[in-house]
Symmetry: D2
Subunit: 278 residues, 4 copies
């Protein structure tokens, strides 16, 4: 039976075996309660930087929104349904932007890189959603004397340290403040055209809207405090697939760290609501 894709089903390479199981497609009859899965623990730090440096990374029609603050956030996930209860970790570098789409402006978070420590969600995230995912090692954070320390590395070469401390539950807040105009996570999907190097098979912006995920999530722990992060300046020999990214982040001017957060949540979404924004 030759490959015969059906509307509403998910397919990824290799297509020789029919519909592809993954974050948005499970065995026949299998469902998950997204108010109870997954569990997430997020460690984030914000840094004020030079607006021109952030703008230099933006493709056309993207605009920096608000102060030039870059956030680095590690997220440790467990009890993930589509992985049959396993977990994996990720680390985002991101800032706030407006994308001037044909149907009007879209305010959201541009995730420049989402590092993950498992290849399977990297493939489905890049190809299905346009999420700008790459691989690195993300071991469990160290916790001592109230200080949480996370380190990212690639094949035993560390390139990013995150530290947060002096954490406490803020009075009168049970979670991060909501921004009613903020629509979600913006990504830039790009697939090269085989053989015509420099040209694209696919090139468009995607939006993963906040709404379905936010409705499912319960915040179990929300603390604010101090924090810092540091990218290690690296050579091609150290990080042959990441040095250009790590060095771009290492060169961001530090105009002051803006605080840190620790958030633990239960619940999520398959993010199948992600769509193309022209």
């Amino acid at each position: 039976m030759p490959f015969d894709p059906k509307a509403g089903q998910f397919y990824r390479m290799p297509i020789f075996f029919g519909p592809t199981p993954g974050p948005r497609q499970w065995p026949e009859g299998r469902t998950f309660d997204f108010t109870k899965t997954p569990h997430m623990k997020m460690l984030g730090v914000r840094m004020l930087t030079n607006a021109d440096q952030l703008k230099a990374m933006l493709p056309e029609r993207f605009e920096l929104r608000g102060p030039p603050v870059v956030t680095v956030e590690a997220n440790y996930m467990t009890e993930i349904g589509w992985l049959a209860g396993r977990g994996y970790n990720l680390c985002d570098v991101k800032f706030e932007v407006t994308f001037h789409g044909k149907a009007g402006p879209v305010h959201g978070t541009l995730v420049l890189v989402r590092w993950e420590n498992l290849c399977d969600p990297i493939l489905s995230g890049r190809e299905e959603l346009g999420h700008n995912k790459l691989y690195c090692e993300i071991p469990e954070p160290r916790v001592i004397d109230g200080r949480h320390s996370a380190r990212m590395s690639w094949l035993e070469t560390p390139f990013l340290d995150i530290n947060i401390w002096d954490l406490a539950a803020p009075t009168g807040m049970s979670g991060p403040p909501a921004d009613p105009e903020h629509q979600g996570m913006l990504s830039y999907k790009y697939i090269p055209k085989t053989g015509d190097w420099g040209e694209a098979d696919v090139e468009y912006v995607t939006l993963s809207p906040h709404r379905p995920m936010r409705e499912n999530i319960t915040i179990e722990r929300f603390e604010l405090g101090q924090g810092s992060f540091q990218f290690w300046k690296s050579s091609w020999e150290d990080l042959p697939t990441l040095y250009h990214i790590v060095n771009a982040f290492a060169e961001l001017e530090n105009h002051g760290f803006q605080g840190a957060h620790l958030v633990q949540t239960v619940g999520g979404s398959s993010i199948a609501e992600t769509y193309r924004v022209d």
Copy 2:
């Protein structure tokens, strides 16, 4: 400076940092002598199976070529230039086909799956070349009493064992026989359309031609012998992203193993010559 791709350069997600280093693009001025890099050690086993089972995996315009023999081959690579001298391993499942392209038939090897134990070449291979790569663990083979044993696993769950033994250098042969009509490795590139699930952004066949690689490669060891492989029948819980593939292979009828090979080579190619076949 917004994203501004140049012809002849390679770009992959995330595109915010300019040209992307990878297997076919290195730092300014850096080159590799592809007659001396990489080093490869391949362990392969061939099995005669039911032709109808192989045909059932073929997309339109593909035809089984010759007897229904599937080859499972593990390849251990070291001294890879674009990884600054690191190595990684891969494992192919493949058989011989003819693709009936618009410009005529193309005879080649259809690689149904290429498992690799490093995410970076999986991303570049899928997106640039259409190679049907997935992740698994591929530790070094065990060697005892002249028997080489390779095992593939995913997050500590084994799913494929390869064993080869009774190996000896064949008289009068210094390498595998050449097939003048065989053009290279065929793959099926497919990228889903974000939000329109079941539809494709990209869907075409690619050919990675043999010629440039073969001209560079020196065979250092070539031995033939006996061998077997076994896929472990698996549940969704065991292998939530691979069970449908592993079980399809586990169900292939065994009409007799057809021998094994051990080949060690030096040299290779960036495979930038890969092109789309309509």
Copy 3:
């Protein structure tokens, strides 16, 4: 300055560098609050077996105490002080015994094997405490549909599965019942005599008393339910350093699983109170 050990300090190979940092010795001035560190999550299953099989494992002067119930328990630890806030995991196989010491009987738990996934505490535990530790891989448990699944493996070869389910907090109990006569964890310390194979440099029983640890520990979660475990029968080729142990456990008769527990705690001890029992 030649090696000059001081009373009260801890030394292990290599001794060329002075006192050895480890679970019971930290940098000058560094202390930990053992009521707040480490965090532990334990998954345990009990199985009734054939008393003769357990007795056959006992050295002289050890006696089976109570019904022949063997417990398999995985323990996932984080925020460990002496590892500067890192964690590691362990998995015990154990049953209740009486050791007839010269000063009278000692009732305790004989830990036949404590597998750990980090070499450093294995070395200090074996050599300082006589704990019968060995290495294996202990990834985080999978959790789906209220079922927790743990798997132990060695170099990608799985050998033990633990499953627990139907968990609920028991009414009227906030923790496991205390046994006033139970004194702690019993181990059998044995170090071979170099060159005189079959003879021992060290051979005695040790007791790690419960008391200091129990006083420090706060139980955060205590649930009881159903469970099972299974050891995989293995060959020397599969597990060349563990097959004799794994097969001994695989051969234990299953006279019925006796329930499972999930316990989460905060607090602990350095176990420096461990002593030799003659």
Copy 4:
């Protein structure tokens, strides 16, 4: 059947399961041809340092022999019989000494630390032979432009880099020069006494003689060249079990690197000939 050790057999914790399989004891009837196993690839660098710094590490009755040259050598082993054909890697830091034993002086190499990337041989080596083994990660070396680079790390924290280059087979030499007075590898076996911290259960010097191993080994590749190594100065937080050792090495004065070697061999020994030297 209680524990009943037999002369000539090997036992290690846990002793509840009879004789312990390991590097010097295999299943009934199983033997290995030590002229064909294992395969080893060694990368070594020598550095002249301050004699007083080396002397400061020496226990009583040890004396520095010859110039104060410390050697750092990584060794990548495959096809190891007792691991059923698997491999593992090690990294030594060592220098030449004379031990003044009761029966006269013994000239040998004092291995201050042997790091290994597998726990099983660490346990048997420490307890049976007194070898001063510790755990670290030892990935395959990188090789590019004729330069071999090895890096040691512990839980993603690098602490030692070795680089060798300009390698060539020396004329008129097929292997390292033999020193007729050199007897082998010296170690300092030390096991603490449980509960009497600072006192020892075991404390003596061992010698692993060269002879049996050297008779079995065939040198397949022998090249000399340039090299360097560097220990990274580390904090307790970075390397809570290794910082005191790594920093002692980082503080060694560099009075000039003395060249590097790359040696590939086949063959070995169980080193069961190791004995105590009083």
